[in-house]
Amino acid sequence: MTSAPTTLPPDAKAGGRAGRAPAGGPRPGRVRRPGRLRRTALPYLLLLPALLLELLIHLVPMVMGIVMSFRQLTQFFIRDWSRAPWTGFDNYRLAVDVNRPVGEALLGSFLTTCLFTLLSVGLCWLLGTAAAVFMQETFRGRGFLRALFLVPYALPVYAAVITWAFMFQRDNGMVNHLLHDQLGLGGAEHTFWLLGDNSFWALLTVSVWKGWPFAFLIVMAALQNVPRDLYEAAALDGAGIWQQIRRITLPSVGAVNQVLILVLFLWTFNDFNTPFVLFGKSAPEAADLISIHIYQSSFVTWNFGTGSAMSVLLLLFLLLVTAGYLFFTTRGRKDADAR
């Protein structure tokens, strides 16, 4: 984008169409100003359609959501929510008051989501990176394996997750059949995977299965740009495979990893489809992710005001984490550049 103005023909810069420049045309002694203005304005003009669309599609509903969070918006007012009574910060107080059931449940759900996100993103990244490094070597069947790895990413989420839901069923599911009946693990009594504490692990399994191919794809793409002679030189110097990964591979894909982890974090933290398809509109307490929790507060119990307040709190939290993450990672990169 920044190179766009310099590609303008010289006469356009100086004044060929200067009469159409803003600020009333050229003034004596400052003939170059319209061109400069045009050069500064052009990128913004080009951005304008996207900005307008962004405004319409994202910002307007967001502002509406924020306004709703200050109202007592229940079924009595959903037809015309502008008539819902203004309640100030009541919805927020309700959401953060951990001594009452709503706040207590929200905090529980938030902590569950944090732990879930940490584990899921960590495992996705680890698996994706390991597979990408492994795939750098050429061997027979590499193309097939590469395509196979991407299957979870290509499948429609609903179909994939509902298949998992069937597999996790206690009495007829494949998971228990394999663990208990075939391998004899965990005793004769079948385990519940979609109820109680185990539901967390069931959810995590599906999330990692669904998420790691994306990490694999991105890291693999980044690795394509690492010159092979770096490895050859390192090997000549006697570096082993671990040293090569630590000293060459990981630093080379560092910038990509920063974006990858951020995106995985946001997707996982907000993931709605996986728990919804797996557990329906009321997830077990151990797997009550915040997106489902907010959905339930808004659309199942019809407290849209409280649901909006929770959404805004979630947004603020994610903005804070994202800003902090970007701040630290870019600073890290700048330090590296300085060295």
Binding site: M68, I78, T301, L318
Partner: protein, 439 residues
Amino acid sequence: MRRTRAAAAAAVAVSLLSAATACGGGSTGAEGGSNTAPKELTYWASNQGPDITADQATLGPELKKFEEQTGIKVKLEVVPWSDLLNRILAATASGQGPDVLNIGNTWSSSLQATGALLPWTAKNFDAIGGRDRFVESAIGSAGAAGQDPAAVPLYSMSYALYYNKKVFQEAGIEKPPATWDEMVTIGRKLSKDGRWALGAEGSNLSNNIHQAFVLSKQHGAEFFDAAGKPTFDTAANVDAVKQYVDLMAKDKIIAPGNAEYDKNQSLQDFSNGKTAMVLWQNAASTFKAHGMKEGDWGVAPVPVPAGGAPGSGKNTNSMVAGINLAVFKNTDNTDGALKFVKFMTSDEEQKILNRTYGSIPPVKAAQTDPAFATDDLTVLRNTLSTSAAPLPQVPEESQFETAVGTAVKELFADAAAGRPVTAESVKAKLTKAQQQMSS
């Protein structure tokens, strides 16, 4: 440069995050109805048959008939149950909905409170042949008491105890249990060798509510007081919910695996002979779809407390189940919509549709048709007319289903995992549900 990057990062972050708050819109919508599009109607039908195609095949010819009679073309959309309430909410918020739609009758009061549905005033009822054509209990589940109903009953259903005749015969049991004590005694005899006495749908919130509601009535309790305030955790309600969960936890006549059922798996188990009984509403067509033949199952009233016979008060043994037909207030074709409701609730159509769906016509004149005098339907019809009560008709009904339904689901999960289900643990769950409602 640094500022540009920060701005870009912020823009990216905002666009990634905005999904979190991008919920719902609002619309002032047009008030009242009009007749600006008199030649067309959109109809959202709930999924009543085995699948959506079956519903289209059933309703298609009837809608054609209506078009021939009136010249009004009806655009049909069959909506799965899991989507229906959300679709109605979205339509209510945006003002962009169908002209006529099906609603679950338990949602009537909640949807009535939104003000999006056409109230069934005396004048509107006159346009479809009068209010007294309908069974009163069905009208009772079409909106809050003291207000004009928000909908008109279309299909009625009630709960019954279905039992597998062959399994009963093999176990030497002659007749189905009429009381809960008998249910437990017979249930213990039946629950052995990998077979279980009773099926349940422990993760299905609505079903949990239906069972809890009936038992609560039998314990002389209510989930809402006269002023509409929740009274979930009264001693009698705790007893009622505990009695239901104890069928798995203490009496051990429901298989622990049923705790995770929510897709009618218990009906499949019943059809395979894995469970001997289920408490269900109008299940005949599902049993047939699973390969059972008419006569393989028997139907009896849902058990009541010992010493009682099905009747009013403590012997309530079903909720008034069913589907209602509502008209969106901001329809472009009020007259056409009323004509369509009149057509769908006419004696003739009531017989055709209820016969196909295995439900009972809420229209008195159609109910007397011999087609509804089978053994199954006689039990269901008697229940509806003598011992069924509508679920609480309060605006918070939808929240109640979720809050208490979830409490029962969690208690079943405890029972299945072998954790104790005590009066205290039941009370704690119901208190939490009540506090969630009150906040």
